[in-house]
């Protein structure tokens, strides 16, 4: 899958790796598709959560296990909630070996209200999971923050540190600051995103069909 700025696929799962055969079919499939350097596996939930929170400036899809065997690990629901405390722009796919019908109603409500991207049963057939990751990556790529990121990387590095936005309060933002602000959904980031969309809408609304001209 060719992307200008690749999406990181972060797998947080303690039971996805076959120790005996030293392999993981789903990880192999994901790395083949998205590139070795773009797929990361964390078998401890805290470490996975730390990685996500420390890298909110990049596009990410998180494949998250609901239940970790070790009781000391943070449960998948909690990891999801902690990600949501920081951003709603990271897409999270929660997988569980339990039946979906076994999940408590209040937990389901929480997942829906906090914008879980997908919830799926985890079985030996992982094709469904890969399809969901593909879908998340596709949707991420047409989101405004991803479009802005693609625009930024087309500029030389020295340009990315030039101020492109200055408020009348004297705060200045470079391209990189702005992307970070959008991903972190700060006021300035969401305003920039909104103004870009408004301009796109205004331009499109003014466009007349030229077929009959």
């Amino acid at each position: 899958m060719k992307q200008i700025v690749p999406t990181k696929i972060v797998v947080i799962h303690d039971d996805i790796f076959d120790e005996e055969n030293n392999t993981s079919p789903i990880m192999v499939a994901l790395k083949l598709k998205y590139g070795d350097e773009n797929v990361l596996l964390f078998r401890h939930s805290q470490k996975g959560l730390d990685y996500v929170l420390q890298n909110l400036g990049q596009k990410m899809v998180v494949l998250l296990d609901r239940n970790f065997h070790d009781g000391k690990e943070i449960d998948g629901i909690e990891v999801f909630e902690k990600i949501r405390e920081e951003t709603s722009l990271v897409y999270v796919i929660l997988v569980t070996v339990s039946k979906i019908s076994d999940i408590d109603g209040n937990v389901l409500k929480k997942l829906i209200n906090k914008d879980l991207f997908k919830l799926e049963s985890f079985t030996a057939d992982y094709t469904k999971i890969i399809e969901l990751i593909d879908e998340a990556v596709r949707i991420l790529d047409v989101r405004v923050d991803a479009v802005i990121e693609d625009w930024i990387v087309r500029h030389p590095i020295e340009k990315r540190n030039q101020v492109i936005l200055k408020t009348k309060e004297g705060q200045s933002y470079t391209m990189n600051d702005l992307l970070e602000s959008i991903r972190r959904q700060t006021e300035i980031g969401t305003e920039f995103e909104k103004n870009l969309l408004k301009l796109a809408i205004e331009l499109f609304s003014r466009q007349k069909l030229k077929i009959d001209d």
Binding site: I164, L165, K166, K168, G170, E187, I188, N195, E202
Partner: protein, 210 residues
């Protein structure tokens, strides 16, 4: 005669030039109006005391107040002093208050209207002024409301709408003809930050003093 008080901070380290240009644009735009009595308060003189003295000198006449300096939810201010504070605004209750400064519509604007201020036009968010080459366009758009109100004599609502139309026109020109997408986006942000509160039917003739 119509009294106008303009406070502008030409001393500001970042945007002093912008505020000064804004004041000049206001002066130029209204130069054809003979019955204006403009009092300007600049830079370090932008303090609450100086403003109160200036308002007192108007002898309780209605007046236009224009604030061209930094703003926040509750204040207009300079690097050194506060010019208008939400806790002390009785002296502005006879004014039509206009300011393109950041965020003053959030608290200051509604408090002014509660205190009897005739009309308030200001911004609900932070506004932008990044590209110096285009300062004249940013400023012309922001001043259009005052120009229209004071020069043509139409209602403040019509003047406000005229300002919105000029923003639209400039946004279209910048984006379609000049490929200045980032500047056009800033103008969209500035345009959509403006709000109007109070008496929308207010006209210049309502402010004339003997």
């Amino acid at each position: 005669m119509i009294d106008v008080i303009v406070g502008y901070d030409d001393n500001d380290s970042e945007l002093g030039g912008y505020f000064e240009l804004s004041f000049k644009e206001f002066e130029d735009a209204c130069s054809s109006v003979n019955d204006l009595n403009v009092t300007s308060i600049a830079g370090l003189d932008c303090t609450q005391e100086v403003l109160k003295e200036t308002v007192d000198s108007l002898d309780q006449n209605r007046f236009v107040f224009v604030g061209l300096l930094h703003g926040n939810d509750e204040q207009l201010l300079t690097d050194n002093d506060v010019f208008v504070d939400v806790e002390d605004i009785d002296h502005l209750s006879n004014s039509f208050f206009f300011s393109p400064s950041c965020s003053t519509a959030n608290k200051l604007g509604s408090e002014l209207i509660d205190k009897g201020c005739l009309c308030f036009i200001g911004c609900i968010r932070e506004t932008y002024a990044t590209y110096e080459d285009y300062y004249d366009i940013y400023i012309k758009c922001e001043t259009e409301c005052l120009r229209c109100f004071l020069v043509t004599g139409v209602s403040i609502e019509s003047s406000y709408n005229q300002m919105m139309s000029l923003f639209d026109e400039q946004i279209a020109l910048l984006s379609e003809e000049n490929d200045e997408i980032l500047v056009a986006m800033e103008l969209i942000g500035n345009r959509d930050s403006f709000v109007i509160m109070g008496n929308r039917e207010l006209r210049k003739s309502d402010l004339v003093s003997s």
